[in-house]
């Protein structure tokens, strides 16, 4: 910032007084940020120690714990009580007193972890395996509303992670061993579901940050799905059981209602909705396609995703879209280089040419980034 201020002063964009005022404000703000970061770090460490202390307190061998451990109901009640205290205390500190917002939010986050501990305890009491999807789904249901009530991104991300685990364990438990399920269906369902939730008008308008995160997760899942498809060798599954068709049908309904209830039908929304339906069509017909067609469509869709992100990124001057598109492009190029390069190039030349290509791409991207930044500053 100091560098830019000096530059603006030299270019005559600001005068000496403005320069000093801005520099002073910036220094005060910087100091505040450092102090806040230190506070947050201390709070996080404190909250973690507190959590660890409780776990050790529960597992330690003394008379209180002998008593608490003597009945499952006492163990459950003590964990429930602790989780509720964290949530209530966090709320009071962050939103009622308003003086300890960071500490309060740390405690609220800690409550989401300790309620997970309670659910793990229930799983143990009923002798359930740790990969039982129901436990993760229950945890997700318990903490997801908190993300919206407190507009808390950390809880939102934790909920997403737990939901993904829950979905994976669900398909694992139902023993869908076919390559189609793991290579196509699960990433598709996750991707399409996150995209659909991210496009729900209420979430998009009132929780825009959440919506962006869902879309990022969705794009990543769909991208992985399409990359896997470029390696497809066809499928042995001949038909779809109703249990697999139903989620696709529900996703279609969510997308249609998202489109219908959205007042501002932007070109981006039209494009996204259209893309989801193309993807649904692709997933449902992939079983009956020949291998060449599967690979061709997957490559076209990958190129479409990358180009669309670059286009919208430049149009709305959104660095995040461009950055994500660059990551996807890099992965796509590396995957294909390894795939085809290893077939046609000898050991040394494979690495040399690969290194050279990546370096050139890196230089081009760096140049583009600098130009964009210059444009933003102007």
């Amino acid at each position: 910032m100091e560098k830019f201020l000096s530059k603006w002063l030299n270019e005559g964009l600001i005068n000496k007084n403005q320069y000093l005022d801005l520099l002073n404000d910036y220094k005060i703000q910087k100091e505040k940020t450092i102090k806040t970061a230190i506070n947050v770090t201390i709070y996080i460490i404190g909250a973690l120690l507190l959590g660890l202390g409780i776990i050790l307190f529960i597992s330690a061998n003394n008379w209180i714990l002998e008593f608490l451990n003597s009945h499952n109901i006492l163990k459950v009640l003590s964990m429930f009580f602790i989780s509720s205290i964290f949530l209530y205390g966090g709320y009071i500190l962050a939103y009622e007193k308003n003086k300890f917002q960071k500490l309060g939010n740390c405690l609220i986050f800690l409550s989401t972890l300790s309620i997970g501990g309670l659910i793990a305890l229930l799983g143990q009491i009923y002798n359930l395996r740790s990969d039982y999807f129901g436990l993760y789904f229950l945890w997700f249901l318990c903490i997801y509303p908190l993300a919206f009530i407190f507009k808390n991104m950390a809880i939102n991300i934790l909920s997403c992670v737990i939901f993904i685990f829950s979905t994976i364990f669900f398909f694992g438990a139902n023993d869908f061993q076919e390559g189609y399920i793991w290579g196509v269906y699960v990433p598709f369902i996750l991707g399409a579901l996150f995209y659909s939730v991210g496009n729900i008008p209420y979430i998009k308008n009132s929780f825009n940050d959440f919506s962006n995160i869902y879309k990022k997760i969705a794009l990543f899942a769909i991208f992985i799905l399409l990359i896997i498809q470029t390696f497809s060798s066809g499928y042995t599954v001949q038909s779809y059981p109703i249990s697999l068709i139903l989620p696709v049908f529900l996703l279609s309904l969510i997308n249609l209602s998202n489109y219908y209830f959205e007042k501002d039908k932007t070109p981006l929304l039209k494009l996204e909705t259209g893309f989801i339906f193309v993807l649904i069509g692709y997933i449902l017909t992939a079983l009956y396609m020949n291998v060449f067609l599967i690979k061709l469509i997957a490559n076209i869709l990958i190129i479409f995703i990358i180009s669309a992100q670059y286009y919208w990124g430049h149009k709305f001057e959104n660095e995040k879209y461009i950055s994500l598109a660059t990551k996807f492009l890099s992965i796509y190029l590396i995957v294909n280089y390894i795939r085809f390069g290893s077939q046609y190039l000898e050991g040394a030349s494979f690495f040399l040419i690969g290194g050279l290509i990546l370096t050139i791409i890196g230089i081009i991207l760096e140049k583009n980034k600098k130009q964009r930044r210059k444009g933003e500053i102007k």
Binding site: N69, Y91, L118, I119, L128, N174, D175
Partner: protein, 163 residues
């Protein structure tokens, strides 16, 4: 403030609903005994639990009832005079009016038509002392597991009875 209270109520309701769902198997299910043995009963990360094996986990498809695409088998049980359950027959469709347990096909040996099944009762969480004790006892001799089985074939362990 109200929202926080609602969340705490939600947590309580969900935990209670989960417990009712699990307890219903124990309370309403038919109680039988299954012959069992244990192995590797301790795990540093997951605490103390016994990995149980059951006599009924191995099934031979002599009647060619299991299709290669089947994922579950319904094992029909009969009990002897000591209430110990044994395999009476099996089916790949849900039986009616019979005591059965739903098994997930875990390992398939197509050559000798042998299937290893999992019933969701293979883990039994216990405290450290009991885990060590169970390891010692059950690794040399077969014990008995008192199991409750509900009408849809779901099972829950109630207790392990030492030999």
């Amino acid at each position: 403030m109200k929202k926080v209270i609602y969340i705490i109520i939600l947590w309580a309701l969900m935990s209670i609903a989960f417990c009712i769902n699990q307890e219903s198997i124990k309370i309403l299910g038919t109680k039988v005994l299954l012959k069992t043995s244990a192995y590797d009963p301790r795990d540093i990360l997951r605490g103390d639990y016994a990995n149980l094996r059951f006599d009924i986990e191995t099934l031979y498809d002599n009647e060619n009832k299991i299709d290669k695409n089947d994922k579950y088998v319904y094992v029909i049980l009969e009990t002897d005079k000591d209430n110990i359950a044994h395999i009476k027959s099996y089916s790949n469709t849900k039986p009616k009016n019979e005591l059965f347990i739903k098994g997930k096909i875990y390992i398939k040996h197509f050559k000798d038509k042998k299937y290893t099944l999992r019933y969701g009762i293979e883990h039994y969480f216990v405290d450290t002392k009991t885990a060590k004790h169970l390891e010692k006892i059950l690794s040399s001799k077969n014990g008995l597991a008192r199991v409750a089985i509900d009408k849809s074939g779901r099972a829950k362990i109630i207790e392990i009875i030492e030999p």
